[in-house]
Each structure stands twice: as structure tokens, then as C-alpha cells.
């Protein structure tokens, strides 16, 4: 009798604990402004869904990537919702690691997603992650410096136009540098810029047979142009500058032109942090002789790992965080300038948003100009844009990035950097079984 009571007791405790457990969603996310804002709005979600609690795990991007990759690959089940990039979505979806999002509810309105973003997070027409915010890349420049130097940057500039303007804006005596571009090695740092740049010069990473193309004239042209321009009009020590370093330089008035992610526009126009908030002009990512604006496209998305036991609650959360009502919620609490950009057409049709964010139109144009399914002028066997969507790219991209960073620092010649990039990429791709 006693043992039966004990057993019953134990069973009910277990049942209760699993019941309580089922209500807590663990969400892994990166630390950036939009995500932190979402975390602060948790209450709105828990009020609407009193049976679901949220537990946040915020990590630095690289730590997060390593962490969630280990978990999802081993089906560890630690997270119910993961913040992942457009790089991971197609790779993970094909591995069967992500649940297709088919229960987002009637209000979700998939048709409202920007086509480029929708394509980046869908595989075979099915949505595998829901975009939270998206970005492309564009030119940001100082209108006052441009005026002073007597140059005009058109809405669709060419690289020659940019180089000319940058050189004229440079005044090293006042520590004003015409152009700031990423130089820090990394597949998501300098290689994002250089891959997009090579795309705009007509280059590509691989031909249809997965042969690396660093020995082709387009890459040589792009890299030579980059190194020469940075030498003449860039800041000192540029080979260690990434997004944040360039942001700090631009905000403190030390850069004439900065070409980087569109999300930067909201930082540089924020008068609280930026000295140049009211002097910023915008243009599309430059072209280098072919009709290609780099095809830079990135989005942070919410995906649900296949190992979760709380798929239904997780979809509820994803829907809450990425539907149109969320945008309005942020706008009502923090103002229109602070809503997560770059995912929905409706946001760009909203006159209030356009008023609050002067960079809205150019951001939309930049995003619409990006095509991840056809990133280069010449045919390629991969999708992507400022990256190549294959699992090996993180490793290869960073190794190639180190060569190009060395070329920028002057410790290696451009030809030498291209040669070793070609050699190491060929080696890795052969090892990976792409090159037979």
C-alpha cells in the first residue's frame, strides 16, 4: 500500500514537473539592439499566453553559433527557439534540423515578407525560419564633406565614382579618411564585403564545377582596387577594422564614406551616439562594370529545432515576435525608428516609418536589389550573396579572409594573397568532395 502511494506520489510529481516544464520556452539569441528590445517586451507575450514562460539565453554571435550548432546537430534539445542567420537556414533545413513553420497562424501573412528575404529562409517553398530583422549593404557618406570636396555621389554609384570621391574627401591632417571598409579577417567580416565587392565586379567564388575562381581577372581587379583605395584614402590600421570599429570611426566624424550593412544607418543617424547624425547621405552598393549591387543580404531569423518537445508553443512565440502586430507594439513603446527593419513590405509602405527613418527607401531598394538565388553575373552552383551557403564556408571564408587582410596590411602582395586563397580553397573543396 505504502509503495503504491509512493509510486503514485512520484508519478504525480513527475507529471507536474513535466507539465511545468512544457510551459517554459528557452530562446537562444544574439546580443543586438532589436533582440534586446524583444527581450524587454516579453511581458506582452506572457500576458497573451499565460501558460507559456520565456527563458532567454543571450550570447555573442560566434559563441551562439557554436553553441546552437552543437545542440542542434546532436539533437540536444536545450533550446526551443533559436536565432539563426540566413547562412544557417538553408543548410540546416536540408539536414532536417529545423521544423517547417506551418503553424504560425492566420495573422502571420507570409505574402507580406520581402521576396528576397522570403527566398533566403525558405527551402522548396516552405518557411524554415521566420525573419526578425533583415539587412543589405549600402553606401553611407558625409554630405558635408562631399560638398566641401565638390563631389556628388549618385544614387547608383560605380566603384570609380566612390574611389574618386573618397580620395577628394581625404584630409589626413585632420584625420579625415575618405573611405572606411572592413579589413578584419573573418567570413562574416572582411569576406562579407569582399565577396559582395567581387560579385559587383563580375567575380564569383566557384564555377559550375566548384573550381575556385581566385585566379580569374575579376577577383584580381576587385582586390587590387580595394587595397589601392584603402591605402590611399583609408584609415591607418584598417586591417583590424570590422563593423564596430568603422561605426565608431564614422560616428566620430573620421570617415567620408562607409560601405556596410544597412542596419548601420540607424546607428549613425542616432544623435545620442553620433556626431554626424544629420549629415549622412545614402546610395546603393556600388557596381564595378556589371549590373550587380553585390547581393548582400542578411537576416536574423527565429527557427525551431527539430529536437524540441514544445513545437506548438514555440511557433506561437515565433509568430508573436515576427508578425505585423509586433512591429506596431515596438512602435508604440519605442517609436517607429526602433522597429526591426528589413523583413516586411508593409513596414516600407507605412508613411510614419518613412518619416522616422530617412534611410527606409534606400534600405528597401538595397534589399530588393539583392538576389540570393543568383548572387553573381556568371552562373554558380551555390546560393548566397556576401557568403556562399555551404557548410565549409565558415572555415574557408575565414582562411581566405586572413590572406586578404594580410594583403591590406601590406605584409603580402595582392597576387600572393590570391594565389594562396586559390590553393587553400582548392584543397578544402577537394577534401570536402566537391571537386572530384
Amino acid at each position: 500500500m505504502l509503495s503504491r502511494t509512493l509510486l503514485l506520489g512520484a508519478a504525480s510529481v513527475l507529471a507536474m514537473s513535466s507539465f511545468a516544464h512544457a510551459e517554459t520556452l528557452t530562446i537562444a539569441t544574439v546580443n543586438n539592439g532589436d533582440m534586446v528590445r524583444m527581450q524587454k517586451l516579453t511581458e506582452d507575450f506572457t500576458k497573451k499566453n499565460p501558460d507559456i514562460q520565456l527563458e532567454w539565453v543571450t550570447l555573442e554571435e560566434n559563441v551562439l553559433r557554436q553553441r546552437v550548432t552543437t545542440d542542434i546537430a546532436t539533437k540536444g534539445g536545450q533550446y526551443d527557439v533559436m536565432t539563426i542567420g540566413t547562412y544557417e537556414v538553408p543548410i540546416w533545413a536540408k539536414q532536417g534540423w529545423l521544423l517547417p513553420l506551418d503553424g504560425l497562424g492566420a495573422d502571420y501573412d507570409k505574402a507580406d515578407l520581402l521576396p528576397a528575404i522570403d527566398a533566403a529562409v525558405s527551402v522548396d517553398g516552405k518557411l524554415y525560419a521566420s525573419p526578425f530583422y533583415g539587412e543589405s549593404a549600402m553606401v553611407m557618406y558625409r554630405t558635408d564633406l562631399a560638398e566641401k570636396a565638390g563631389v556628388k555621389i549618385s544614387e547608383k554609384p560605380t566603384w570609380d565614382e566612390i574611389a574618386d570621391a573618397a580620395k577628394k574627401m581625404t584630409d589626413k591632417s585632420t584625420e579625415t579618411y575618405g573611405i572606411c571598409l572592413r579589413g578584419k579577417a573573418g567570413w562574416g567580416e572582411n569576406m562579407a564585403l569582399l565577396t559582395a565587392m567581387s560579385n559587383s565586379f563580375g567575380g564569383r567564388w566557384f564555377d559550375e564545377k566548384w573550381q575556385p575562381q581566385f585566379d580569374q581577372p575579376e577577383w584580381k581587379k576587385a582586390l587590387t582596387f580595394y587595397v589601392d583605395l584603402m591605402k590611399e584614402a583609408g584609415p591607418p590600421g584598417a586591417s583590424s577594422n570590422g563593423f564596430n570599429e568603422n561605426l565608431a570611426l564614422f560616428q566620430t566624424g573620421k570617415c567620408g564614406i562607409w560601405i556596410d550593412a544597412t542596419v548601420a544607418a540607424s546607428f549613425v543617424t542616432n544623435p545620442k551616439d553620433s556626431k554626424v547624425a544629420d549629415k549622412v547621405g545614402y546610395a546603393l552598393f556600388p557596381t564595378g562594370g556589371v549590373e550587380n549591387h553585390g547581393n548582400w543580404l542578411w537576416a536574423w531569423n527565429l527557427g525551431i529545432p527539430a529536437g524540441t518537445k514544445k513545437a506548438e508553443a514555440a511557433q506561437k512565440f515565433v509568430s508573436w515576435a515576427t508578425d505585423k502586430a509586433y512591429t506596431e507594439l515596438v512602435a508604440s513603446k519605442e517609436g517607429w525608428a526602433n522597429v526591426p527593419p528589413g523583413t516586411r513590405k508593409s513596414l516600407y509602405a507605412n508613411p510614419e516609418y518613412e518619416k522616422a527613418a530617412p534611410f527606409a527607401k534606400i534600405t528597401l531598394d538595397a534589399m530588393n536589389a539583392a538576389n540570393t538565388t543568383k548572387p553573381t553575373v556568371k552562373p554558380v552552383p551555390y546560393t548566397g550573396g556576401q557568403f556562399v551557403a555551404i557548410p565549409e564556408f565558415q572555415g574557408i571564408g575565414t582562411a581566405v579572409g586572413q590572406q586578404f587582410s594580410a594583403a591590406l596590411a601590406g605584409s603580402m602582395k595582392v597576387d600572393q594573397a590570391l594565389q594562396s586563397a586559390q590553393a587553400l580553397t582548392t584543397r578544402e573543396m577537394t577534401k570536402g568532395g566537391y571537386i572530384k
Binding site: V30, V36, T58, E60, E61
Partner: protein
């Protein structure tokens, strides 16, 4: 004459000592100062040392975003727990190797140390799978177990060298008086090796406190210690140095204070046996 040379030498060494001390301490000081800056001033060139608008905004922000106490509790439980269990396992092991060595003792010690030579990421996936199957992911128990294991070789090695300094005759005398093995270790060996054990303990608590590979990779929300707390304040897009510095200051404060109070013990233990 000789006296003045001594004073001069003393002065030189004092200045040198202070200079090296400040050099080593500087990163911590800079982190501390940065934590009171705004994000803009934190990255300003030229860097601003003391004359800026001091603000507590970062601490406020960090407090409102993270559950600091939860992370501190986890850190304390994990570092102290793993060290105590490690000591309980290592004291008998080191005793055996120090006082009744065999032909293979040196090899055993070397083998134990060799486990530290493998990069931890090499065993991440197998260990992750074991943790998943045993339900140890994101639990303090799991972390205590893994940190005990990875620090055990160091504890054994340190204790072994301390125990070697203790004359075996004293233990023999205790045995002559009829002390059992257990009594010999607890009442004779341990009291004599207290400085050594204490410094081993302190050093291991610090090692476990700072361990950032396993504590990040095996935790999510519940068992995450201060390393995860710090890792949440770096950002690829946006300035974060001031907030990161505030988080770092808060994360190192407890261990720094502990080190401060126990430095006498620590130094005594680390130089134990140096003067024969």
C-alpha cells in the same frame, strides 16, 4: 656606503615591482574605468583616462537585462563544488604517489597530465551526447562533474609536490603509534599540508571560476555561470564595450575580493617548500 647602495637597490626594486604590478593590473583597471563610460566615450580616440562624465547607466542596464545573482550562485556552486570533490579524490591519490611510490608512479602522473594536453573541443561532441543521454545538460551537477574531471590532474600534481616536501618519517611515526591509514591522512598529513591544500583549493576555484569552454557549451538557461553572463554583452553590430566592461567588472568582483583576502595563504602555499 654599503647602506646607500642597499637603499638604492631597494628603491629600484620597489619601483620595478610597482611598475610590473601596475602593468599586470592595468587591463582590470581599464575595464573598471570603461564600465563607467558611455558607449561613445568607451571607443573614443584618444582614449580618455579619468576625465569623462562618469555614469552608472551600464550597471543599470546590465542589472535590468540579466539575472546577476543566478549567475553568481551558479559560479560559486560550480567552482567550489568541483574543487571540494576534486580535493577529496586527489588527497588520497597524491598521498599514495608521494609516500608509497612504485616504479610506475611517474608514468601515472605523466598520464594524468597528458589528459590536459588535448584541446577540449576534441571531446565536445562525445561528451555532449553523454550529457544529453544522462540528462545532465544545463545542470550544475553536470558542470561540477566535468570541471572536477578536467581540474583533477592539476590538483593531484600540486598536492603531490606539496606532499613530497613532508618527511615520510613523521607518517611512519604516526603508524608506529597505531594510527590507521585514514587517521594518518586526516590527522597527520592534512594538517601539515594545510598551506599547500589551501593554495591548491584557491587556485582551482579561480580556474573553475574562469573556465569558459565547458561552462558555455554545456549550459543554456539554468546552470549558466558568470562566463555566460559576460558572453551575452558582446555584439557584432553595435557598440558594446562599456556594457561588456560593466558585466566583466561584476563577474570578476567576487573572485577578486576572495583572492584579495586570501592572498597571504595563496602566496604561502605557492612558495611552500621553496626554502629548504
Amino acid at each position: 656606503m654599503a647602506r646607500s647602495v642597499t637603499t638604492q637597490r631597494k628603491l629600484t626594486f620597489t619601483i620595478l615591482g610597482w611598475a610590473i604590478g601596475l602593468l599586470i593590473f592595468f587591463p582590470i583597471l581599464w575595464t573598471f574605468l570603461t564600465s563607467f563610460k558611455t558607449e561613445g566615450t568607451a571607443v573614443a580616440t584618444p582614449p580618455q583616462f579619468l576625465f569623462f562624465d562618469w555614469t552608472l547607466e551600464n550597471y543599470h542596464e546590465v542589472q535590468s537585462r540579466s539575472d546577476y545573482m543566478k549567475h553568481v550562485t551558479n559560479s560559486v556552486v560550480i567552482s567550489v563544488g568541483s574543487t571540494l570533490i576534486g580535493l577529496a579524490l586527489a588527497i588520497p591519490a597524491a598521498w599514495a604517489m608521494a609516500f608509497s611510490p612504485t616504479k610506475r608512479t611517474k608514468d601515472v602522473l605523466m598520464w594524468m597530465l597528458s589528459t590536459k594536453m588535448m584541446p577540449p573541443v576534441g571531446v565536445l561532441v562525445p561528451l555532449y551526447l553523454i550529457f544529453r543521454d544522462w540528462g545532465l545538460l544545463d545542470t550544475r551537477l553536470g558542470l561540477v562533474a566535468v570541471l572536477t574531471m578536467i581540474n583533477l590532474p592539476i590538483i593531484v600534481w600540486m598536492l603531490y609536490t606539496y606532499f613530497k616536501e613532508i618527511p615520510g618519517e613523521i607518517l611512519e611515526a604516526a603508524r608506529m603509534d597505531g594510527a590507521s591509514l585514514m587517521k594518518e591522512i586526516v590527522y597527520v598529513l592534512t594538517p601539515m599540508a594545510v598551506p599547500g591544500i589551501a593554495s591548491t583549493m584557491l587556485l582551482n576555484i579561480i580556474l573553475a571560476w574562469n573556465e569558459a569552454f565547458w561552462t558555455l557549451n554545456l549550459t543554456a538557461a539554468n546552470a549558466a555561470p558568470l562566463t555566460a553572463f559576460i558572453a551575452s554583452y558582446s555584439s557584432p553590430e553595435g557598440l558594446f564595450w562599456a556594457k561588456l566592461s560593466a558585466a566583466s567588472t561584476m563577474a570578476i568582483a567576487p573572485i577578486l575580493i576572495m583572492g584579495w583576502f586570501s592572498q597571504k595563504q595563496l602566496v604561502r602555499g605557492l612558495t611552500f617548500g621553496a626554502v629548504k
